[in-house]
């Protein structure tokens, strides 16, 4: 499975409202998937564990964390830094 598919599966799995099936780069997880603040924290934690990254190393991670495309960019940035 591609890494980005893993992210999308996590987003769908942890979405407060089950039943969402379609997610793309432009999907806003707050507006489109009803993520509240606690669900977002859980998603952040899950991504960190799955990908072995640390979001606090991204200075602007709080600003990135709304659209799927931006979340993925953040993960890629952290993975590149780690390499």
């Amino acid at each position: 499975m591609m890494d980005k598919d893993i992210l999308i599966n996590l987003i769908l799995e942890l979405a407060p409202q089950n039943g969402a099936k379609e997610v793309n780069d432009g999907t806003n997880i707050i507006v489109d998937l009803q993520y509240d603040s606690l669900a977002m924290v859980e998603l952040l934690n899950a991504i960190e564990e799955k990908f072995g990254v640390d979001f606090t190393e991204l200075p602007d991670f709080l600003e990135r964390f709304e659209c799927v495309g931006d979340i993925w960019d953040g993960i890629e940035t952290l993975l590149n830094v780690a390499q």
Binding site: S37, L38, L44, P59, D60
Partner: protein, 399 residues
């Protein structure tokens, strides 16, 4: 996307561009793009409190009027009371790093059952319980229901707790008497200076990990302790510096009520760019020791949490719209208390001077369950103690 320095610059321009308090400091000049934070004045709580609503950003007046901002009142450790406003989304952002680090360091997530104590003037209920959270009113500290409360906590069996050190100590006494529950993993200390012996006692009694979290209502989390014992500055939430020995903080998140170069009551030093064994590299805060003295001494040798008397002032402020700007309580003898008050300078000041002595005396008698001598003194200012440079809300003169 902005880095932390750019976010700081953005906050500086927002504060000095939209908040009347800061605009007055600059005589209406704007913050140039070339300006750094050192070019701006340091402000303290006293001058902010006296400014009243002019601390709010003009961009958030609509939300303020529409009661869409979250609100709290704080006194910190100095007894100077003021109101804090947050936009909900900004407040949530200010706490996200803390959640990430709780998980990373101590395995704590929002899904785990939590117990914490809240100020008694927030709600009438003694306990507020939802599926994963038990919130306990601090009124239990003085209304004789601590034992009942402990049983309730035990029944709820939280996996973690957020406690002031003085409350943790009270719970230790009860834990030794009634035992603990199985799945407590972590206690987070906040709100008071944490003395090492108290910490060791809590860890020994409850058999769990502990960590210290330093923050204020104005900016939320400022520093958080890693498993190596270092207080890492939450650099995505605040910019931290010192003015002399005093800690100064700039919120990177509170746009509704910005705090820029805001001098706190605490003293400490900041070590920049430290590579910690926990894996993080950044600024570390070391707070200076201050003697914690939060207990009223009783004639029978027992103690009562000083919050019992502090809450009298908080209730009066709630009822009379913040008439008391600063206060200090001194226990001169077992049944003799001095309340030093600085009142808000407004039309009701003289009326308050007539009403308050009786209100406070009644409150003291009720809390102490006996007739006490209560001396209410009205001051222009309450000055900090020379030794610590801090103004303690409560102190006892009983050895």
């Amino acid at each position: 996307m902005l880095n932390n320095h750019q976010i700081l610059q953005k906050m500086m321009r927002h504060a000095y561009g939209t908040v009347p308090f800061y605009q007055h400091l600059m005589d209406g000049d704007v913050v140039a793009e070339s300006m750094e934070i050192d070019d701006l004045p340091i402000v303290d709580k006293e001058c902010m409190v006296k400014s009243g609503d002019s601390m709010l950003s003009s961009r958030y007046i609509g939300k303020y009027i529409g009661k869409q901002l979250s609100w709290t009142r704080t006194s910190g450790s100095s007894g100077i009371l003021h109101e804090i406003y947050w936009d909900d989304e900004d407040e949530r952002k200010s706490l996200k790093s803390l959640w990430l680090l709780r998980k990373k360091y101590y395995g704590i997530s929002p899904r785990q059952k939590l117990c914490y104590f809240f100020p008694s003037d927030i709600a009438v209920e003694k306990y507020m319980e939802k599926e994963r959270v038990l919130a306990v009113s601090r009124s239990v500290l003085y209304d004789g229901s601590m034992e009942e409360t402990y049983q309730k906590i035990k029944q709820f069996h939280p996996e973690w707790m957020i406690l002031q050190p003085s409350i943790a100590l009270l719970l230790c006494h009860l834990a030794e008497k009634y035992g603990i529950w199985n799945n407590l993993r972590y206690i987070e200390f906040t709100g008071e200076y944490l003395e090492l012996p108290l910490r060791h006692r809590v860890e020994a009694v409850f058999g769990c990990r502990t960590a210290n979290q330093y923050g204020t209502k104005e900016v939320n989390s400022i520093a958080y302790e890693c498993p190596e014992g270092n207080m890492h500055v939450m650099s995505d939430n605040v910019y931290l510096e010192t003015a002399g020995e005093n800690v100064c903080v700039t919120s990177l998140r509170n746009y509704a009520m910005p705090f820029v170069r805001y001098q706190l009551d605490d003293r400490g030093k900041i070590s920049r760019g430290v590579a910690c064994a926990c894996g993080r590299c950044g600024d570390i805060l070391t707070l200076s020791a201050g003697r914690s003295d939060d207990f009223i001494k009783l004639a029978d040798g027992g103690v009562m949490h000083a919050y019992a008397l502090m809450q009298i002032v908080h209730s009066i402020n709630y009822q009379y719209d913040g008439c008391i700007m600063q206060y200090q309580i001194i226990q001169a003898d077992y049944d003799y208390f001095v309340f030093k008050l600085v009142l808000a300078e407004d039309d009701s000041e003289e009326e308050m001077k007539d009403i308050l002595p009786q209100l406070i005396a009644r409150g003291v008698d009720e809390r102490m369950n006996e007739d006490c001598v209560t001396d209410v003194q009205f001051e222009e200012d309450i000055f900090p103690e020379e030794r610590t440079g801090k103004c303690r809300i409560f102190r006892t003169e009983i050895a």
